[in-house]
Amino acid sequence: MAHTVLVTCCHDLCKSVGSCPVFEKNQLRDSALEQRVFQQRMIASLVLFFFLAALLAWRYVNLQVFQYEKFATASDRNRIHTLPLEPRRGLIYDRKGVLLAENQPSYSLAVTLERVANLDELLIDLQQLFDIDTRSVEKFRQRLNRRTPYQAVPLKFRLNDDEISRFAVNRYRLDGVEIKAQLVRHYPRGEDFSHVIGYVGRINKSEQEKIFSDEQRRINYAATDHIGKIGLENYYEEILHGVVGSQYVESNAHGRVLRVLQQVDPLPGGDLQLSVDAELQQTVVGLLKGRRGSVVVLDVHTGDVLAMVSAPSFDSNLFVNGISNESYGKLRDSIDLPLFNRSLQGQYPPGSTIKPIIGLAALYHGLITSSSTINDPGWYQLPNDERYHRDWKREGHGDKVDLFQAIEQSCDTFFYDISYRLGIDRIHAFTKQFGLGEKTGIDSFNERSGLLPSRAWKRASRNKPWFPGETLNIGIGQGYMLVTPLQLAVSTAALATRGERIEPSFILSDKTPPKSNKEEVGQKENINALINASENNVSSYGSENQLDDIGVSDYFWDEIHDAMKSVVHGRKGTAQAIGRNIKYKMAGKTGTAQVIGIAQGEEYDADAIAERQRDHALFVGFAPFERPKFAVAVIIENGGSGSATAAPIARKVFDWLMLNDTSNDNKVKPAGRELPVYASNSQLPGLGDVSMNDSVEWVNNAF
């Protein structure tokens, strides 16, 4: 039709331009001239018109044909966006499958600014309705500034049932307000495990900057707003976090998502199965109630940490969604330091618990034999020195004290003598082999190394030479020497296994490699890349680290073990009180570490000095004596004496380990890498989903 009209119009136009009708009305006019003028102008107009029309047509041809690719891409970029999907954080179980860290659905009250008519009025309304303090509102306004359009910004977290129903009732007048469900970390045993597992918290500014500096991490954390802050949550962050998923969505010009075009599911973080026994941990927490101190329980062969408690503790759940200033202030300023992880960071003089190692050193270096004796008048004097070095027992331990008695009864004078004869250099070299003065390599970033003094150290740190008197102090675990409770446990395990030094680990040492899930191969590569990136962090994962052979003959070991056994089971043992009514044999050593210096000639009177200046009470031990499996280290701050305070706690721990728990033999394998029965997936509660464990397997494969 259009074509016909076009032809018709063209036809007539040409004709009429050629033969315009004569203007008859006004005979006076010069019709011919007028006609020519008009005709001229009409032709010029039409030429211009066709030129402009062609120009327009060309413009659209250019845009739509020659620049099509460019604009088609621009148009897609306008509407298609990628939204990151947060992966589910890996769960944490104890060695028997008890859940220690989970993800709970949490409901938060969220506001979408674009749908709110009057924000100020709404906030006042919500504040009254849900009892929100002004500080939360301020924080909400800060979050509001960082939001993307049409994003629901949370105002109040962790709504309870009552608040949810209150929302439902008032919903009709709360436009733009919604309840958002998200998974939030929860620690069912927050108090018991806060120092082991640590906690996650909202990513802060410096963490954000760190994440943003690494492109791969930046992408992986695009949907994440919590990160492991301390403890295992921090150490195994890369594994627990998982791999971000993505969603290709079509959204409109206002950023509102209209539909999902494609989705790549996130890969959940790998689960961790800890070596810790939740029941034992709970028992130990009970034993330390009301005290300040630490207990570490190790498997002497595998390095499995069976329990690690630092008291007092705190509820790690407080930190997940931001702890209030008030609660945090209380924790931070408490004189009992609940936030301080004593097991890894507390550095204490080992006191007499060092004596078995010093004794062994003396035997090893041939300074004494098992039958060598000294006379102990209750004090010791260095040659050419006036100063009296006193024994803890004023009257001394008698005129014939041998090594066995010296350990059993913790004779200081004996050790003054042998440490003087050993000298600081040999003491330093020998004790170092038990892992003192250096980090144990446990899977934590917070561990401290303690202090094993040497001439070089003193020169470097104090610029002073080493004095022989200082060696005497080292020999009884005083002076400059500092150890962490974990180091004590590790060195005790090395004593128990005759020099086999283990690297302690929170991760169950023998996990079944789970079956691989072929569908997720692509993502598996991603997670492998992530894990490789963090290889340094997890290189110790589940591995055993054989200590260089100390080269001490079994005869010497027997000597020390027998003496330590006598500490508990002997008639004169310093811990003989805990040896009563005991159904198994164990070995141990008490220790009492001075907190304040006692001047020459003064009496130590525990009652007369303030509680916080009392001596620290220590005990280390292992059991069963015949085939050692467990090593325990106990430190009670200001506990008074090791035998009275620390030893009974250790006894109860050993009781639990040896008697109460019938699965003892299964729980800790003697040696090698046989698989305990319960470690297979099928028998672990809550581990039905194979993929959950995949990343753990990849970790294993990676090394």
Partner: protein, 377 residues
């Protein structure tokens, strides 16, 4: 001559095979009517998509079209003589109303363009001037011998500039330029000497600098700057142009399909149902859709040119030519503006963009064209 015109018609369309005299009796030019109906229908289809499938809006536009077409047919019934006689009166009334706008006008978005007189619907007096100015100039010049002498030209310019000045101060630069265009087209067709034409072109070039610095307002300057470099202000003034070019370009040859244009449906395209509607058409129907519409517009212009040429009297020739080419100026400015060739001025696409007022004026103009056509031999 009209008989020849009809002789070349194919035999297909039954209703149109009325005898030429019957069409003439009702003073209707059927080719023009057909083209305008085709454009309007096409426009309704695009508008439905551009307005987000808003049936209400579509209904309102349809009603406005009915009214506008009615106005066109009514205007066609006036004899050319009458129109010529009424033109100066309409012009006078229009100027008075324009003068009243600053005093009693309604302020909308910082511009006072509307007049709200009791007993009348709210209207823009500038719309009236779109017809009154060319009619008056044509009536005036048809009283003298063409080409007009200098003093006639001067008087004609005065007739044009008075209302234009009043419209500029509203402020409404776009409309005032279009009113001026319609009047100047009359003078041009009446045989304005070439020396004046070139002089005017030189004058415009020479005055560009002072105009830029003193006459144009900030937002007007911004529009021009944005035209040359839309990326300089992606989210501000450049947004419209970037989005409309993206919509047009991404349409390609055949378009994304009706209701499937992502730029318009997802609201990236601003003003998609009014000034920028051609971008929706280009996105959904592609280059083929654009060229189809452009062809319909070209045919309207050609039919108008034919009416102008075959008109009996000078007045009819000048009026028909001016109305026709002004119509094309609307089309051209809109298509050029949306595709980024001209700065963004508020010129709707005739018969397609949403909005009733402009359509009534436009179709009333075509009514006058029909009146002229019906009085040829």
């Amino acid at each position: 001559m009209p008989s020849e015109f009809f002789r070349s018609l194919p035999g297909g369309s039954g209703a149109l095979r009325m005898r030429p005299n019957t069409w003439k009796k009702f003073r209707i030019d059927w080719p023009l009517l057909l083209l305008l109906i085709m454009i309007s229908s096409y426009g309704l289809v695009v508008l439905y998509s551009a307005s987000g499938q808003d049936a209400d809006r579509l209904g309102r536009q349809f009603m406005a079209l009915l009214v506008a077409f009615a106005c066109m047919l009514i205007a066609a019934q006036f004899r050319v003589k009458t129109i010529k006689a009424l033109a100066p009166l309409a012009y006078l009334v229009g100027v008075l109303l324009l003068a009243a706008v600053p005093l009693w006008g309604v302020d909308i978005n910082g511009a006072t363009r509307w007049l709200d007189l009791p007993g009348l619907p709210r209207f823009q007096p500038s719309e009236l001037m779109k017809l009154a100015v060319p009619l008056t100039v044509a009536a005036y010049l048809s009283g003298t011998l063409l080409p007009p002498k200098f003093n006639y030209l001067l008087a004609s310019f005065t007739i044009i500039l008075l209302p234009c000045g009043l419209i500029v101060i509203q402020p409404d630069l776009g409309t005032s330029l279009l009113v001026a265009t319609s009047g100047l087209l009359v003078i041009w067709l009446a045989g304005l000497q070439w020396r004046y034409v070139f002089g005017a072109v030189l004058g415009v070039v020479a005055s560009a600098w002072p105009l830029w610095h003193f006459a144009l307002q900030g937002y007007q300057r911004q529009r021009i700057l944005t035209l040359f470099n839309p990326e300089s202000d992606r989210l501000g003034a450049g947004w419209n142009i970037i989005q409309s070019k993206t919509a047009i370009g991404s349409g390609g040859w055949a378009g994304k399909g009706w209701l499937n244009g992502t730029q318009s449906q997802l609201e990236f395209l601003p003003e998609s149902h009014t000034d920028f509607i051609i971008a929706v058409l280009a996105e959904e129907f592609g280059l083929l859709g654009v060229l189809t519409l452009l062809m319909l517009y070209i045919l309207v212009v050609m039919r108008g040119a034919y009416i102008s040429i075959s008109a009996k009297e000078v007045f009819g020739k000048l009026v028909a030519g001016s109305i026709t080419f002004t119509f094309f100026v609307y089309v051209m400015v809109n298509l050029a503006m949306v595709s980024g060739m001209l700065p963004v001025v508020g010129v709707p696409l005739p018969l397609v963009s949403y909005g009733g007022t402009a359509m009534v004026t436009l179709l009333a103009g075509f009514g006058i064209l029909m009146s002229i056509q019906s009085e040829t031999d």
